[in-house]
Every structure is written in C-alpha cells, then in structure tokens.
C-alpha cells in the first residue's frame, strides 16, 4: 500500500497556544485509521490542520508526497480530502439537497452522487427539500457525511460523528461506514468512544496533550496500553 498522507513534525498553534507538538503520522491508501484521545488532546486540531482550516508549515503535511500544510482549505479540498466537521455544521440557509449539492461543488468524478447518498441514507430523500436545521441531530449528521462524500474524496476525515447522538443513531451511522470505505476510500476517524473507534479501524493513534502517545494495529493493542496512553499513566 502506498502512503497517502504523511505528517512530519507537525506543530499547530492557536495564536500563542500550541496544540500539537511535532506530530508524526502516516496513513496509507485504503486504510481506516482511528484517532483517539481525551478532550483537549488535539484531535480536532489535527483534523483542522490536515483539512487546511488551520494553516501550518508547508512540509508538515504531505499528501501523495506533495507538501500541503500551508494551503487554504479550498485548495486542500481540491486534492480530494474531505472533512465531516465536529458538530455537523450544515449550512442553515440551504436545504438538505442544497447542502449535499454544494459538497459536490468541486465536481470530482467518482462513485458518489446525490442518488448514492440517498441510497445510503434513504430518510434524506424524503427530507431533501426541508431546511437542514429542521432535521434531527442524527439526520443532520447523515447530511454532513453525505456532503463530504459528494466531493468524491480519496481521504475522508470524520470528526466526532457520534457526539451528542442517541446510541441507536450512532449504530446506524457506524453501520453505514463499511459501505463508505468499502470501495477503497481512505478514512481517518476521530472518536471519543474507543470501542466504536477500534471496531471500524485497522490502525489507531492515541493523542495525549498534543503528542502521539500510542500507535499500532488495532488487533495488536491491548486494553491496558490504551488506558495508559489515554490517561498518560506510566505502563
């Protein structure tokens, strides 16, 4: 498998505050990588840094060998990287279908279309002309995922997709994941729920206070190792 994304000594700052410290990370084509860690560990900052919402040193983020760390989000999107942002963040003045259509704005070719998104989440077809704000949280999350898929990305980033949703909805969304990454799409999944994260991923990174505290194949990592990496206990 060839390397798709490489982070090399990524430092990320919000003003004077440093959120990520020299992060090294590698994601290969077709992998599903889970990013876990406590609140404030830097998971969302990592997503913002990869997607270009937070601009960093150019060589700190490399995509297919090209430095993209200093590019704007709209330029990064052109490379085929899509983010499902934390908290859904749909466009309130756009209808459900318009939200999906704007996701396909770049016009990249690929398997995803309005029809395929509606096949994946049939409820959205019924609601397609409604205001996106009139939907339930779970349905909004489906729109947010569909919106990212409409870009036909090579790499899709999920930031806390289960946050604030009912367990039954979370299961529904996670059940849909294999259908999304099945045809070779690479994914990075940020998740608070460790069990959920491990169940869908092949490899996992644990962040702690802006640094990688654990890395490995999901099957090789023990519960104790995760606990230690998560809370910073000496193992």
């Amino acid at each position: 498998m060839s390397e798709l994304l490489a982070l090399v000594g990524l430092n990320a700052h919000y003003g004077d505050f440093q959120a990520l410290y020299g992060l090294d990370m590698s994601v290969s084509e077709g992998e599903v990588v889970a990013i876990i860690g406590a609140n404030g560990a830097g998971k969302t900052t990592l997503m913002r840094s990869i997607s270009g919402l937070l601009q960093n040193a150019s060589e700190a983020v490399n995509y297919r060998g090209q430095p993209i760390g200093a590019l704007r989000a709209d330029q990064v999107a052109g490379f085929g990287i899509a983010l499902v942002p934390e908290g859904r963040q749909l466009f309130p003045s756009l209808s459900v279908e318009e939200n999906l259509m704007i996701g396909g704005k770049l016009g990249r070719s690929g398997p995803w279309s309005l029809k395929k998104v509606y096949d994946l989440f049939p409820i959205l077809l019924e609601r397609r002309n409604q205001a996106s704000t009139s939907l339930s949280g779970g349905q909004q999350q489906m729109v947010a995922i569909g919106r990212a898929l409409m870009a036909n990305p090579e790499l899709i980033l999920f930031d806390e997709v289960s946050l604030g949703l009912a367990p039954v909805i979370i299961r529904q969304i996670y059940d849909a994941l294999p259908g999304i990454v099945g045809d070779g799409m690479t994914a990075m999944i940020v998740e608070q729920d460790i069990k959920k994260a491990l169940s869908v991923s092949s490899r996992v990174y644990c962040l702690q206070e802006g640094r990688v505290s654990l890395e490995g194949a999901t099957n090789d990592i023990t519960h104790d190792q995760i606990t230690a990496a998560y809370f910073g206990l000496a193992s």
Partner: protein
C-alpha cells in the same frame, strides 16, 4: 384626488430607482456583512462613466450600459480582492473606515476630473415621452426604470436561490470555514458578489443620470436612500427592498406635493416611522 393618485404612482416608479440603489448594498451585506459607505459614490462614478462613454462614442446612455456594466463589475472584483477582502474579519470597523475613505477618494477624483458642474446623460426623446393612463400621465423613462428594477431584482433572486453561484453565496454567508472545505475560495466568492453588486450599481447610475442631473457630491444622498430602502424592506430580503424603495419613493413624492421643500424630509420621516414600529423592517427574512 387625481393629483394625489398621480403623486403616489410617480412615487412608486421613483421607488424602483431607489430599489436599484439598495439591491447592491443588500447583496453585499448579505454575503459578507460588509457595509459599503462608498456605494452611493460608486453609483455617481457609474453615471460619470456613462457620461464619458456617451460623449466619446456618441451613443445613447442605454447602449453605454454595454460598456459601463462590465467595467464596473470588473472594478468591483478588483476592489474586493485587492482592498476590501483585507478589511474583513471579526471587527466591523475596518471595512466601514476603508469604504468611507474610498467614498472621499471617489468624490475628489470625480471633482478633479469633471469639475463640480451638474451634468446629465442625454437620453433623447425617451426623457420627455409619456403615456396617458386614465388621466394620470406617466413618463416612459420612470416606467422603464421601474421595470428594469423589477427585472434586476428577479434576476438577483434567481441567482441567489436557484444557481450554484447563489448556493456558494449563501454557504459562505452561513459559515466561511465550512464553505472553504467545500472548495469555495471565499476571497473569490466575495469578489464575484461585489462584481455583481457593482453591475447593478452601473445600471442604477445610468438610470439616475438620465433622470436627473448629478455632480460629484450627491453620492452620499443616494447611499442614504439605498440604506433606507434596505432597512424598511427588511435585511436580506430582495423583494422587501423593492417595497422599501417604493415606500420611500411614495413618501417623497407625497411630501413634495404638500410642499416641494418637504420631499427629502418626508422620506426620512417615513423611514423613522417604519423603524420605530418594525425595527427589523417590514419583511425580514426569517432564518434558523
């Protein structure tokens, strides 16, 4: 009685021109929360551009639109990307100050180039042509102006709610960061919005120049009329802006009927009354 009806109808038609002043303001504010203090001066700049074009090429002002509209649109794009985008941020003061400065610069450049003498665009026979509708005589030019205003607002409305460009405008207006994630470069989207706004400004400037005489100092007044039409109609509602323009126009013509010196004041009073009763305007767009 027929005199009063006439005044009201004249006011409605005048409102079309005010709606054209307002449409660009409303569009820019809607997309990027920018209050453009130089808007009125840009209208006058467009009128002078129309003057130069008609004189140099010896064409009718309506034909001059073919040149002034694209030139103003191009100017809008360059102005937005070169200057105004740099002023946009969390603080609303920098764009106000910069567009205020722009207003002063435009006035002085016009004064330097064209002097302070009032000028007018020569519209020819259409200026004096009129139609008689059951005792009320209406000028063809005001009627045409109103028709153009309705058409411009319909087109803007269509762009905003039915096209990919309009989806981009609304998405950037909702959430700039997330819109960037969709591949929309907000600097470019804002540039296009300003280009569209100044294309409307160009139309407004030419129609203004055919209707009345203008000089470099009258931009501020046009800005106020535009603002009042936007606020009366309700922010973010283009058809509301047309209604706002009409209310303002009718108030002015009725005021002028009572006493010619009362015209402008009557418009401002109508504006204040609406503001006192409905602070959000008559038809604010319901959001969220």
């Amino acid at each position: 009685m027929i005199e009063w009806t006439g005044a009201i109808v004249q006011g409605i038609l005048l409102g079309g021109l005010y709606a054209l002043f307002a449409a660009g303001l409303s569009l820019i504010f809607g997309v990027m929360r920018l209050v453009n203090i130089a808007h009125g001066d840009l209208i006058i700049l467009a009128a002078y551009m129309g003057l130069t074009t008609t004189v140099l090429l010896d064409v009718h002002p309506f034909l001059a639109l073919l040149i002034v509209v694209p030139v103003m649109a191009g100017l809008g794009y360059v102005l937005q990307r070169g200057i105004l985008n740099r002023t946009l941020g969390d603080d609303i003061l920098p764009p106000l100050l910069v567009t205020f400065g722009l207003s002063v610069i435009i006035q002085n450049v016009l004064l330097e180039t064209y002097t302070a003498d009032p000028r007018k665009l020569a519209g020819g026979a259409i200026e004096t042509a009129s139609v008689d509708l059951g005792g009320i005589t209406l000028g063809v030019l005001p009627l045409l102006t109103f028709g153009i205003a309705v058409a411009v607002i319909a087109v803007l409305q269509f762009i905003f709610y039915r096209t990919s460009l309009g989806r981009g405008f609304r998405a950037v207006s909702d959430n700039q960061d997330i819109a960037q994630l969709m591949g929309l470069n907000k600097a470019h989207v804002f540039g296009v919005a300003m280009a569209l706004a100044l294309a409307v400004v160009a139309i407004a400037g030419i129609l203004l120049g055919m209707r009345t005489s203008f000089d470099p100092a009258i931009g501020g007044g046009r800005l106020i009329f535009g603002f009042e039409a936007v606020i009366i109609g309700g922010l973010g509602n283009l058809w509301g802006t047309l209604v706002g323009g009409v209310i303002l126009g009718v108030a002015q013509t009725i005021g002028a009927k009572i006493d010619p010196g009362f015209q402008i004041l009557a418009g401002h009073i109508a504006f204040l009354i609406v503001l006192a009763i409905r602070p959000n305007g008559l038809f604010p767009r319901v959001e969220h």
